[in-house]
């Protein structure tokens, strides 16, 4: 997963910086990292104690902003715009990219209409440009754009930060996958046994027919004698 590897260094760098800063300088760091072009995951930053300290202070909105970037989408931002600080264009782009990732979580085929609505874009041209330049070239999404069916088939989407409850879902999905493969294995085994048995039955049948033919031949020969 190249996306993860690319981000690992950036994350480390920012975590180091975050642990040494406080207050307003931390705020500017948060703004910086939410606009960073290759950083899409924020749970490590959220775990830094200095960041959590911001909770009680006047800068609490920035923690909410960070949480929004970690788990939320563009529509979440719009509905809470009054509570959150204004975003610079870079942050807006990043939030829209993260929105695409969240949508890709739900369905594999995203219709253009849905995307247009969620991302607040006005025409298909802009949407396709956004998808191609900001999502696919950044490497967070891989897929096929179907212009005729006006849909975007996602083949791969990078992971976003996990909410605490999602780990259970992951485990459940893995469980189901395990069950499916086990069933597939059993079905194949059965089929192999069935094929072998059929082969045996066929051989027995052929032998019985041949024996009968031999018998009849012998009896005809005897009659002629």
């Amino acid at each position: 997963m190249e996306v993860e590897q690319k981000q690992a260094q950036v994350i480390e760098h920012f975590v180091k910086q975050a642990s040494s800063l406080q207050g307003s300088s931390l705020v500017s760091l948060i703004v910086q990292l939410t606009s960073h072009s290759s950083l899409f995951v924020f749970s490590e930053i959220l775990a830094v104690p200095n960041v959590l300290e911001l909770q009680g202070t006047g800068y609490a909105v920035y923690i909410d902003l960070l949480r929004l970037f970690a788990h939320g989408t563009w529509s979440d931002y719009k509905s809470n715009a009054s509570l959150l600080p204004p975003l610079v264009p870079d942050q807006i782009t990043k939030l829209k990219q993260l929105t695409v990732l969240s949508l890709a979580e739900m369905n594999r085929v995203l219709s253009y209409d849905q995307l247009l609505e969620q991302l607040d874009l006005s025409n298909v041209r802009e949407l396709e440009d956004f998808l191609i330049n900001d999502c696919m070239y950044a490497g967070i999404v891989k897929g096929k754009l179907d212009h005729l069916r006006r849909s975007f088939e996602v083949q791969f989407a990078a992971g976003r930060d996990l909410r605490p409850g999602q780990l259970g879902n992951l485990i459940q999905t893995l469980d189901d996958w395990l069950d499916t493969t086990n069933n597939a294995l059993l079905t194949i085994e059965e089929k192999i046994k069935w094929a072998d048995k059929k082969c045996e039955l066929d051989a027995i049948h052929k032998k019985a027919v041949n024996d009968r033919v031999e018998e009849v031949k012998k009896s005809v020969n005897n009659k002629l004698d």
Partner: protein
């Protein structure tokens, strides 16, 4: 003698080398027939990529308790780029048991010949068969050190071990270690990966898919095909299980949560279900129906031809009775 190497070199081995070595060994082994003394033993077909050699070495089985497997020797050649050593090819060498050394003149002549065809390949080391590296091998190793400062030593273990999953090949390098106050060269084993070129992959694939030679009934071919799929799914199953355990442990708290891994798992799981869309169902059902239709057609043809034969036989058997009286036996 076999610790793991610390030189940091990565080794890439091509299947051609493995097939060459085992071919050499099997040839020498089968040339030792007819059994005169206890030196003849069942030639062991070895390693998974080797169905072809298996077919070539057919022989009588004799008492293998007193087996003395012949050791064969040869040279490996390839390319070294930086820290990666890629072993492409190999050729055989004469071993002189009296002096415990390899025939030097032959080696140099062969080297020259190969240089003309493959100008980029250098002699990277040598190979032999056996279970483990031995003391006398160090002499050969040192002798080769004037061609290549750090030759590699590839050992193929010709004993088949059905339980073993990996290839019976070990690659040794030599390192200077201080033992009992004396600096000595000892062999240290290193790991390697198998690297294939397209052409090699095709031949290895072909050998791995050897069908039973009688062409088999449809059932055996079907069984072989299904068994292949079965093992592939089994591997997938075991890997999913590993992930599952890992996530369970993480949830219980035995392992600290590693976000990056969790993200990768979630992105992986998002690719499921892998095949499900309207288009896929359409295409799949169409192909399924086509196959069923063709099978049906084939069965119908079979049936009609059998019926035809039966009618012919019937007519031949009973024709003379029904001709008189103008009754036609068939329309």
């Amino acid at each position: 003698m076999a610790e793991s190497s610390s030189s940091g070199l990565t080794f890439k081995l091509h299947p051609l080398v493995i097939v060459n070595i085992s071919d050499h060994y099997s040839r020498v082994k089968s040339q030792m027939h007819p059994p005169v003394t206890n030196t003849s033993t069942p030639p062991p077909p070895n390693n998974g990529a080797d169905g072809a050699v298996e077919a070539a070495s057919s022989s009588s089985f004799s008492d293998s308790a007193s087996a003395s497997c012949p050791r064969v020797f040869g040279c490996v050649i390839g390319v070294q780029r930086g820290r990666t050593v890629e072993i492409f090819n190999s050729f055989e060498l004469l071993y002189d048991p009296a002096t415990h050394s390899l025939d030097r003149a032959f080696l140099e002549k062969k080297q020259e010949l190969y240089k003309k065809v493959f100008p980029h390949f250098y002699i990277l080391g040598w190979y032999s068969t056996g279970t483990d590296a031995q003391e006398s091998d160090m002499n050969i190793h040192k002798a080769l050190m004037d061609i290549n400062e750090s030759p590699v030593y590839v050992i193929l273990n010709p004993m088949i071990n059905a339980a073993q999953k990996d290839l019976p090949i070990t690659i040794y390098e030599s390192e200077m270690h201080v033992i009992d106050g004396i600096p000595q060269l000892i062999f240290v084993s290193s790991s390697y990966t198998i690297e294939t070129v397209e052409a090699e992959r095709i031949s290895v694939d072909h050998v791995a898919h050897l069908k039973p030679s009688d062409g088999g009934s449809a059932a055996t071919q079907l069984a072989a095909h299904l068994t292949g799929i079965h093992s592939a799914i089994k591997m997938l199953n075991s890997r999913i299980r590993v992930l599952h355990h890992y996530l369970l442990a993480m949830q219980k708290g035995d392992i600290p949560c590693e976000n990056s891994l969790l993200r990768q798992v979630s992105s992986l799981l998002r690719r499921l279900p892998a095949i499900e869309s309207g288009k896929f169902q359409d295409d799949f059902l169409m192909e399924y129906n086509d196959t069923l239709l063709i099978t049906y057609l084939a069965v119908l043809t079979n049936c009609s031809s059998t019926t035809n034969e039966l009618v012919d036989k019937f007519n031949t058997a009973y024709d003379r009775h029904s001709r008189r009286g103008g009754r036609t036996a068939y329309f």
